[in-house]
């Protein structure tokens, strides 16, 4: 039932607003609203009950193992939420003079510094509001860099075919064209193809390492050389640093620019879709172009850098300071971890992924890349099962839901057929990993003996399998009253 269906005309139970409407007679009649908006009219209890019950219909980290590959669904420490919501932060107006905003600015400055250290970059801006915006900032800086040198011809961005969809989409948004670079069966970038692709038109290469195939790009130094020699810059899609934190730094690998999804590696909550943060870091030569605002320290005082300080900046990406509440949560999380905790993240994320991969192998699953170490994630391909038993990766996914596990990422990366991209994260106990592998094995057996169970899944959730085709054809995007 929709909240609108709990509505009763004239109901207004909550002491949440002035009881009487103040006069708006100073506003010309013609500019006033004629009909009150058709929002639901419910009591506070009805709203609380409705949304509390709705929440219970979600799977979430706090209730289920959620090994969604490329998304890093790790534990979100509750303290990060509690402390980021201290009144001193929540009530801070974004335009508060810097002198009265020192507590918040100190956190932001420290966060910039820690990100620099963790990634080996020279400077960081926290402005981007998600990974995709971080990518935008990064590619826009590459653009600005070349243009600042009068190098106007570099209009192409190279992207491996395994890349996340945001990479090509971003390049286009920044006005570039995109060329795809193929990936070898072993998961490494096809170096020969890359060598052929680079040229005076190359603005840069966007790379994820470890790649979305869950393996570390072993030729990274060679790749960097090839791109740099061609005059291009190297972009690191660091949406996920979970596999390398404290182990290897993008800056040391030769990357010129990187974004990091703080809502992945640094554990800010995913919130059912956001908000996130795609903080962006750069090597020395790109510093002038970083997006605003940033925070600097002068003596004991912190202050925002403005366009006056950074005349070459690509500009601002949002009205204020990105997503401060998210940034605070990441900052708090990083203070929890400390330098020693960061390394542990990589170690145990990697241990968990490799353990699950070994277990998958042992239980007879086909791995997309069998011969190598997994990074923080790995891929099972169900192409054999699909062929033999007519069950799809999607069927596996839905059946997993019935067994109390959120499904891994399905059908991404696009180049592996019928794939499950599995990312356990470091915060899950062996117990959860084993339970998940048991479930997966059970489903494999069901696929062999009774594939109908898979096709009919899920059976135990609030709804059965939903008709997506109908949703797209008979568009119903908003409630318009009970006809």
């Amino acid at each position: 039932m929709l909240i609108f269906e709990h509505s009763s005309h004239g109901r207004n139970g909550a002491p949440q607003s002035p009881v009487e409407k103040a006069s708006v007679s100073a506003i010309p009649e013609s500019l006033l609203r004629k009909n009150r908006a058709a929002l639901p009219e419910v009591s506070e209890l009805q709203a609380v009950r409705h949304y509390t019950r709705l929440s219970q219909k979600n799977f979430s980290i706090d209730t289920q193992f959620y090994p969604l590959g490329s998304c890093t669904m790790k534990y979100n420490p509750r303290a990060c939420n509690t402390l980021a919501m201290l009144p001193g932060f929540l009530n801070a107006h974004p335009l508060t003079p810097d002198e009265q905003n020192q507590g918040f600015l100190a956190c932001m400055f420290d966060l910039q510094s820690m990100l620099c250290e963790a990634t080996g970059m020279a400077a960081f801006s926290l402005a981007p509001m998600a990974g995709a915006q971080g990518e935008f900032a990064g590619v826009a800086m590459i653009d600005a860099y070349h243009k600042s040198r009068g190098d106007e011809e570099r209009r192409e961005i190279l992207v491996p075919d395994a890349a996340h969809g945001t990479n090509p989409a971003t390049a286009v948004m920044c006005g570039f064209s995109v060329k795809e670079i193929p990936t070898l069966d072993n998961g490494d970038v096809d170096l020969d193809a890359l060598k052929q692709a680079v040229g005076p038109q190359t603005a840069g290469l966007m790379l994820t390492n470890p790649s979305t195939l869950g393996v570390f790009e072993r030729n990274i130094e060679e790749i960097a050389k090839v791109v740099h020699q061609a005059g291009g810059l190297l972009y690191y899609d660091g949406a996920n640093l979970n596999a390398i934190l404290g182990k290897i730094r993008p800056g040391d690998m030769g990357f010129d620019v990187i974004h990091s999804n703080l809502h992945k590696t640094f554990s800010t909550p995913h919130g059912g879709g956001g908000p996130g943060s795609g903080a962006v870091g750069v090597a020395e030569r790109l510093i002038p172009f970083l997006p605003l605002p940033m925070v600097t320290q002068e003596g004991e005082q912190y202050r925002y850098l403005t366009a006056k300080d950074c005349p070459q900046s690509i500009g601002r990406l949002s009205a204020f300071m990105g997503n401060p509440g998210v940034l605070l949560r990441a900052y708090i999380y990083m203070r929890f971890l400390g330098r020693e905790g960061m390394v542990r993240v990589a170690e145990f994320a990697t241990l968990n992924a490799n353990y699950m991969m070994a277990e998958a192998r042992r239980r007879g699953f086909t791995l997309a890349i069998d011969s190598r170490r997994a990074s923080h994630e790995f891929i099972i391909t169900l192409k054999n099962e699909a062929r033999k038993y007519h069950v799809s990766a999607m069927d596996f996914a839905k059946r997993l839901l019935d067994l109390g596990y959120h499904a891994p990422t399905t059908y991404f990366p696009l180049l592996v057929p019928e794939c499950l991209l599995i990312e356990p994260t470091e915060s899950e106990a062996k117990e959860a990993l084993d339970g998940f592998m048991d479930a997966l094995e059970q489903i494999k057996q069901e696929a062999e003996t009774n594939p109908e169970i898979l096709h009919a899944a899920p059976q135990t959730l609030p709804v059965k399998r939903l008709d997506e085709v109908r949703a797209a054809k008979q568009l119903d995007l908003a409630y318009r009253g009970s006809e």
Partner: protein, 469 residues
Amino acid sequence: MPFIPHTEQEITQMLQTIGADSIEDLFDEIPTHLRAAVLSAVPTGMTEMEVSRLMRQRAEKNTKALCFLGAGAYQHHIPAAVWEITTRGEFYSAYTPYQAEASQGTLQLTYEYQSMMTALTAMDVSNASMYDGASSLAEAILMAVRANRKSKSRKILIPTTVNPVYRQTAHTIVKGQQIDLVEVPYDKATGTVTLDQIKQQAEADITAIVLQQPNFFGCLEAVDEITDWAHENNILVIAAVNPLAITVLNPPGEWGLDEASKGADIACGDGQPLGAPMSAGGPYYGLLCCKQALVRQMPGRIVGRTVDLDGKEGFVLTLQAREQHIRRSKATSNICTNQGLVVTASTIHMAIMGAKGLENTAAACHQNNNNLVVQLCAIADVKKAFAGAHFHETVLQLEVPAQQVLKALMQKGILGGFDLSLDYPELGHAILVCTTEMRNEDDIAAYAKAMQEVLAQTANNVASLQESA
């Protein structure tokens, strides 16, 4: 080990299964000479007790001054229930609802959000959110360029009464795509843009015009007149609105007097006034709505209602072919992660407040601002910059530098407003003062008293300076 559950015994078992001798072995594909040293610039870890102490100390450092500052972020009352429910683990720690059946909570809520937002704006379609108001304006402009097939110019009219940081953000985001943002100056008497001024800037082919209502000065634009004119000239209208204000102001879907072409084509804005705390600037969210015809140009996620195998109602992400994870370089936008949790809060906020509650809140904001302005303008040397109605912000002109006055007010515990001198030097010593429903009579009187004292003091200083000179 913080947030890592492994026991020694488990680690051993797992390594055995893997066939590795140590965790270190798992990193053997990384070239040794590239391995990171200790991250010495990162401090060592802290316990929750220690982190809590640190963060409380830092939070305490931030000001507790009475806030009369707006300029795009507003201190409104948020029912306690809103964030208590929003931060329930099931909303807080879930991700994008790719597995629809296991995400009906988030999906239904988002559908309800879209329903509420279209009701509020009187538009046909809403997406599931953009990052913030400024970036949603940028996306609205990109959308208009894609949508207006009759226009080739990629020229967008954007009055200088639109929030300066919105204009800057739009510029950053659209400039890679050869889009021309043409500024339109405002009328000095009213603080709004007139059709005459618009026409002066408008060449033959214009793709779209942006109108902010209320505008950055808190003044009310002649949206009906301009919308009609734009539509007559095949120009799309992008409305940038304060979603709380439009509970009393004519909503963008109703702009224009010409019934045939009524309504803005795209509406954007910042959802902050509907349930997001000021929080030093975010997270807020960008609202983005459009007419039905433009739905396939919409960036970002959209939730649709459908049925399951049994014909039971359910909700899914829909029209995904617009999005980067399917369409890659041909997507409508690169946006992936949005501002879901804030939308969750905002939906609950709207449900609890109801349209009447929001309307009463908006009216109170307006009235408080009128009261404040009357009291401040009763002080010598303070005057309103623009004639005409304001929503809940007003530009006041002073005889002394704004910066100086604001600083002195701050020492009296008053966050007195936004200094306009950088963005609008032509206004002289001007500040933008804002009141929400949170500022009661005492607060307003306190501001007036403080202002009086500050200006008196400044006058004395000036006088004594003159004397001593």
